[in-house]
């Protein structure tokens, strides 16, 4: 299986996805912004269609448009302070409306369907370069801004008192989310992309550890989910995105059951 170049590309991209998605996702989940991941993954479809329409690389299109939508969400926060969920509906309407209009116009020279469900076969050499560049830049930015982003998520006021430029970092974070989505869109697909952002983090949170350990376990669970999804979907000949989502739910259930059993055993021992 790994002798095929398309499979090698898919494995390499999956490694990047499994590092980047939970690293961004942990901040989204802890700030109760999981649905932003869902909204921006839908926005990326509009970016893909715009990229294809302009004859450009669809991942580049997804990155640019998703970044704009991420910045738009941050900007609209000033206007809808008490109804922040409404912002997601506005951005979702804009992006899905754009995508459907372009797809239904019949002016696209390429098929955008593979981006909906994810595909192993369609990862091109240029996609690989894009994914590599975006991933390296994003991971470096995350490392540099790690403590600032941790404090904005944990205690935004304390971060401000310590001199963190919260607004600026929120904009940078929007671009990081856009980057993670653009990197993942080829393999995982738009429809289940948010599961890659939130589910490994949800699983790691069950362990009840500190931030760093939770982040490391999120990456480990994400790698297990994506690699299992990728290899099994190859043999079953199904879209990798859907199967990866199923694996991530299964891993979460296993951890939840394990945690419950452990708690009962402890209670029995204590009694």
């Amino acid at each position: 299986m790994l002798q095929y170049s398309f499979m090698q590309n898919a494995v390499l991209v999956s490694v990047f996805i499994s590092i980047l998605c939970p690293s961004i996702g942990i901040f989204l989940v802890l700030r109760r912004y999981s649905m932003i991941g869902d909204t921006l993954s839908h926005a990326s479809l509009a970016g893909v269609t715009l990229g294809l329409l302009a004859g450009q690389n669809p991942i580049l299109g997804a990155f640019v448009f998703t970044s704009i939508c991420g910045a738009l969400i941050e900007f609209l926060r000033n206007y809808f302070k008490k109804y922040t969920d409404l912002i997601l509906t506005i951005v979702l309407s804009l992006s899905v409306g754009t995508a459907i209009t372009i797809i239904s116009s019949g002016k696209l020279k390429a098929n955008a369907d593979s981006f909906l469900f994810g595909s192993i076969l369609t990862v091109t050499q240029f996609d690989m370069i894009m994914v590599l560049v975006l991933s390296i830049i994003s991971v470096l930015t995350l490392i540099i801004l790690y403590h600032q982003m941790l404090y904005i998520a944990y205690d935004e006021e304390a971060a401000r008192v310590a001199g963190v430029r919260v607004k600026l970092i929120n904009y940078v974070f929007s671009i990081l989310v856009a980057s993670a989505i653009s990197v993942s869109i080829r393999i995982v697909g738009v429809l289940v992309l948010s599961s890659m952002i939130a589910l490994p983090v949800a699983t790691a949170l069950q362990l009840g550890k500190g931030f760093r350990v939770t982040l490391i376990f999120s990456i480990v669970f994400s790698m297990v989910d994506i690699m299992t999804g990728l290899f099994v979907s190859y043999y079953l000949n199904v879209a990798p995105g859907g199967f990866t989502a199923l694996v991530s739910v299964a891993v979460l259930v296993v951890v939840l059951v394990g945690k419950t059993v452990q708690a009962r055993l402890r209670a029995r021992r204590a009694a």
Binding site: Y151, Y154, R160, K209
Partner: protein
């Protein structure tokens, strides 16, 4: 211009119109005295004032009703000021204005502090599900403050008697323990101004005694200016050097003794909190 500045102008006019040399001399001496008083007052005000609010008004909508209306406040360095008043009178709003989280609708508020420490209300930080250990919370904050020396974490924990809890999750701590950690965090980087928002909320009596004793100690021994929003009037009267009483968006500073006589029927509140060190 303040009153002494006004007199200075009058004196200048008088000297200009005088014919008698002796009177002129006396008047010049008096004028010099006023000048010294005027400028030394200005200098002292600038050097020793930690927080200054001038005609400060604030409204969340930018128009009436105002939460704070034309406040004038001057807090000197080294004071321990408790801000008290009914719910919704603007205590927390005043704190947020001092911290620059909010901008005044009109007037101004400024602090001279090079570094400010902030201890939020318990409900603000309790974020109980957040996976962060005590050590991580302090270590990340140390990095935000660009303090290279890691030993400040250990020293901070030792200062509040919480060394044994370095590996514990913040969400698993009791109210008093959490508050002590937040005080240790706020004191990191040696602030000259410490702002606390209801430090005794959700904290048991024993921990309250320890916390207030500790705050009083750092105020008296280290000279840290403390401004604390208080619901605990006993603690406010027992520990503060001044009370700032807010009502209907307006406030006035008074001594704890006077406040106790006026509002607590003379009860000093000494029994409320102790001075035990943490």
């Amino acid at each position: 211009m303040n009153t002494s500045g006004f007199y200075l102008q009058i004196q200048l006019i008088c000297v200009y119109n005088m014919n008698d040399n002796r009177e002129k001399q006396i008047c010049q001496v008096r004028m010099s005295c006023i000048c010294i008083y005027f400028f030394s007052g200005q200098w002292a005000e600038r050097v020793y004032t930690m927080i200054t609010a001038k005609d400060l008004s604030f409204s969340y909508t930018g128009s009436p009703p105002y939460v704070l209306r034309g406040l004038n406040l001057m807090i000197k360095e080294g004071e321990y000021v408790s801000v008290v008043g009914e719910n919704g009178c603007g205590k927390s709003t005043l704190m947020r204005l001092i911290l620059k989280f909010l901008k005044p609708t009109s007037g101004s508020i400024a602090t001279k502090a090079a570094r400010v420490g902030y201890v939020p209300q318990k409900s603000d930080y309790s974020n109980a599900g957040f996976p962060i250990t005590v050590y991580e919370a302090l270590d990340s904050y140390r990095r935000l403050l660009k303090i290279r020396d890691k030993s400040v974490i250990e020293a901070g924990l030792q200062q509040v008697g919480m060394q044994a809890f370095a590996g514990a999750l913040m969400g698993t701590l009791s109210g008093g323990q959490g508050q002590k950690i937040l005080i240790a965090r706020a004191l990191m980087g040696a602030p000259d101004l410490l702002i606390l928002d209801e430090p005794s909320t959700g904290v048991d009596i024993q921990s309250q005694q320890e916390i207030y004793g500790f705050l009083k100690g750092i105020n008296q021994n280290n000279g840290i200016t403390i401004v604390s929003v208080e619901h605990n009037l006993d603690a406010a009267v027992s520990n503060s050097t001044l009370i700032y009483h807010l009502t209907d968006g307006r406030g006035h500073l008074c001594s704890p003794k006077k406040y106790a006589q006026e509002f607590l029927g003379g009860k000093s509140g000494q029994g409320g909190v102790g001075n035990a060190a943490i």
